[in-house]
Amino acid sequence: MARVGVFTCFCGANIADFVDVPRVVEETRKIREVRCSIEYKYMCSDPGQQMIRDAIVQQRLTSVVVAACSPRMHEKTFRKALSDAGMNPYLLEVANIREHSSWVHQKDKKAATDKAIDLIRMAVAKSIANEQLYEISVPVTKRALVIGGGIAGIQAALDIADARIPVTLVEKSPSIGGRMAQLDETFPTLDCSQCILTPKMVDVASHPYIELIPYSEVIELDGFVGNYKAKIRKKASYVNFANCTGCGACWQKCPVKVPNEYNMNIDKRKAIYTPFPQAVPNKPVIDAAHCTMLLKGKCGICAKVCEKGAIDFKMQDEIIEREIGAVVVATGYDLWDPKPYEEYGVGRYKDIITSLEFERMVSANGPTGGVPQRPSDGKVPKTVVFIKCIGSRDEAKGIEYCSKICCMYTAKHAILLHHKVHDSHAYIFYMDIRAAGKGYEEFVKKAQVDTAATYLRGRVSKIYKKGDKLMVRGEDAQIGQLVEVEADLVVLATAIIAPKDNPNLARLLGISYDKYGYLSEAHPKLRPVETAKAGIFLAGCTQAPKDIPDTVAQASACAAKVCGLFSGDTMKKDPMVSKVNTEFCSGCQNCVTVCPYGAIVTEEIPMGHGSKEMRVVSKVNEGVCQGCGSCVAICRSMAINLSGFTDPQIINEIVAI
C-alpha cells in the first residue's frame, strides 16, 4: 500500500487568501493512500523543506505531493529535499494550486478550493504510479569530427582544438580553404581574403590537436551523442605525402592539362596538381580521371622526375575509422548554374560570366593577374553590367529564397572593378539592396557614391549581341523608362545553393535537410547551430547562405557547443526517456518513423519459447531520446512508455476525480 504525504503551501497570502487551505488539508487527509497532510506558510523555505524531510522519514512515505506553485518553479527544489531525505527524487509530484487555482479564481473561494482539492487528488493518484528513476549518465569520447574545411570548418576545428580537444578534420578536396580561398578582397572591409585565411590554414596544419585528413569523405556514422563511430574514405592521391616535399617538379613536367576548378576553369592545371599555391597540405594529388598513366598506363613522367620517389600509382582508397563524441558539419555551398536564363544568351555569349569567375579575374593570384578581361577577346572591359538575383528570388527559373550575400559582393565587385580599371563604369541591375550588417549599408554607399556605380532598379529582360557589345535591356523603375546598356562584360550574381551531396550526407548522419538541401537546425531561433540529433552541429553555408562574419560566428558557436558537451567525462541526462517493453513490441516500427530525434533503432531478439527464429523489436537509445512521448502515443501495442509520464500515471490522474 502506497504511503503518500501531502504538503500544502499557503505561499504567504498568495494561496491562503483564495483557497481554504485548512479544508484542503482536511479533505486530502481522507484520501485512502494519504498518510499525512500538512500545511505550511512557505513550503519552499528551509523549515518547509525540513517538514517534508521529517515526514518522509517518520511516516516512511513512498511518494510525496507538494501542493504549491507551478512545478516549473520549484520542482527542482523539492526533488532535492526528497533526495536529502534519502528518497528517490522522482517520487515527487507537484500540484499546481497557485498558478492554476488561487491566482485565477480569486472571486470564488469555494470553487478554487474544490479545484485545489481535485488537483491534489490527481497528483496523489499519479504519484502512486511513480517509479524510482535515476539520472542517465552517458560516457563521452572526447574527439570531434569536423566535416568540410572551408572557413567554417577551419574556425570550428581551431576553436575546439584550442580547448585541447582532439579534432579530426575531413576535407573532400586536396586542400582546405573552401570558397574563401577563391575570393579576392572581402566586404565590408576589403581586406584580402588570402591574407586573413592562409594563416588560419597553416594553423590547422600545425595544430597538435588537429588531425587533417584531406581528399577524403565520411561514409558512415554510427552510434549516438558522445559515442559516435565514423568511417572515412581517404581517396587515393597516388602521392605518398610522407615522402613528398611539395617541390613541384612533378606538376611542372606533367604533360596533361585539365581545366582549373580553382580558377573557375578560366585557365588550366596539370593532372598532378595542388589546387592553389597556398594549399594546405601543400602536397600534390593525381587526378585519376585525367592522368594518362592511370587511364592508359602511359606516361609516368612525374614518377620519373620525383627525386623523393613519392609517386605511387598503386595506391588504393583507404578506410579510416575514428571514435568521436560530436560532429560539426561544414560542407559549405555551391553556385547555381545560370543556364536556364536563355534570354540572356547564357552559354552562347562568352562575355557573360558569373560573379565567382569575376572574383577570380580580379584576384591578384587569379588567371588574368588581377585585371578583368573579356573571355572573347581578352580586352579589358570598360562598361560592365552586373545583374543581381540570378536564380535567387526566381521561382520560375531558380529558387524562391534570397541568397543573402550577392547584394554585398556585387557592391564589392563594382568597387574592385573601379580599382582595377579606373576609366570603367559599373551598371548594376537590382531588385532590392539587402545590406543588413555591421558597416554594410555604408559599404553599399561607397559603391554608389565613391565608385559612382549606377544602380538600375529592375530585372534584365534580355541580352543580345550588337557588334562586339552585349546589349542589356531592362527597366529602370526609378525613372519609369526602358534602358539598354551597351556592355563589354556582363557579370551574373548567381544564387548560392546547397551542395548537391548534402541529402546523402544528411542521410548517412541521420539528420534532416530542407527542401533546398540545406541541413536543418534544431530550432530556427533558439538552436540555430544544433541539429535535431544530439551531438551533431552545423556551421556555415551548409545550413543557409551566409557571409564570412556569420559563418565564423556560427563555427565558433559550434565549438562552444562541442566544448560544453565534452566538459565532463560523462554526460548527465534527465531520466524522462522512453523504454521499450520488448515483450509487447510487435516490430511495426511506427515509433521509429515518428521519433524526431532518430532515437529509436531496431534490434533482433530471439522469438522466445525456445524458438530459434528471431524477431525485430525497437530499442530506444536513451542517450538520444529527448522525452517527447510521440512514440508512446503512436505505439499500438502499448510497448513503449515514457518514464515520468507513463500511461498508468496519466490514467491515474484522469480517473482521480
Binding site: 491566482w103 479564481h105 490527481m122 524526431p596 517527447c628 502515443a633 509520464f645 484522469i654 476525480i657
Partner: protein, 163 residues
C-alpha cells in the same frame, strides 16, 4: 444533434442522452491536457498575470501534445470529464520539432471517431497556446467551458458519486 442544453423542471439534460440529467447548478468538469513547454507555461502566465477564468478545468501536464494518447481522451470522457481540451505549441514552434503536427493529426482522427460514436464534437477541443499567451489561455478555457455548459452533463450523478 442538439447543441443547446435543455432545462426542464430545474434540471439540465445531456445533449447526447436525454436520460442524463443534473441539477440546475451543475458545473461541468473539463480535462485540460497541456504540453509542458508552451501551453502549460502559458497557463502559468495566466496565473502570474492574475487573469481570471472559469474554475472548471483540471490540468494534466505532458511533455508534448504528441504524448497525448487518444485513450486519454476517451478515458476522460468515460470517467470524469464532460469535455477535454488539448493544447500545445503553435505549428512550427514545437519544442520537439514536429510533435504537435502528429498530435494534431491524431487528435482530428480521435475527434471524428468520438463524434461518430455519439459524442458532440465540441466536447473535444484543441488549441495552440504559446508560453506568452496568458490571456489567450483564459479565453480558450472560458470558451470551452461555455461550449460544454451548453452541451450539458455526460455522466449520471457523477459528482454525487464522488463526494
Amino acid at each position: 444533434m442538439e447543441t443547446e442544453v435543455k432545462e426542464t423542471k430545474g434540471q439540465v439534460v445531456s445533449a447526447e442522452n436525454p436520460g442524463i440529467v443534473a441539477p440546475a447548478d451543475w458545473q461541468p468538469v473539463i480535462m485540460g491536457i497541456l504540453c509542458n513547454w508552451c501551453s502549460y507555461a502559458g497557463s502559468d502566465l495566466t496565473g502570474t498575470s492574475r487573469i481570471q477564468y472559469p474554475p472548471n478545468i483540471r490540468i494534466i501536464r505532458v511533455p508534448c501534445s504528441s504524448r497525448v494518447d487518444p485513450w486519454f481522451i476517451i478515458k476522460s470522457l468515460q470517467t470524469s470529464a464532460d469535455g477535454v481540451l488539448i493544447s500545445g505549441c503553435h505549428p512550427g514552434d514545437c519544442h520537439y520539432i514536429s510533435g504537435n503536427y502528429y498530435a494534431r493529426r491524431r487528435f482530428l482522427v480521435t475527434k471524428k471517431l468520438l463524434n461518430f460514436v455519439g459524442y458532440h464534437e465540441n466536447r473535444i477541443q484543441f488549441s495552440w497556446v504559446s508560453a506568452a499567451e496568458g490571456p489567450k489561455f483564459a479565453k480558450v478555457v472560458a470558451k470551452v467551458t461555455e461550449d460544454i455548459k451548453k452541451l450539458g452533463p455526460l455522466h449520471k450523478y457523477k459528482k454525487e458519486n464522488l463526494k
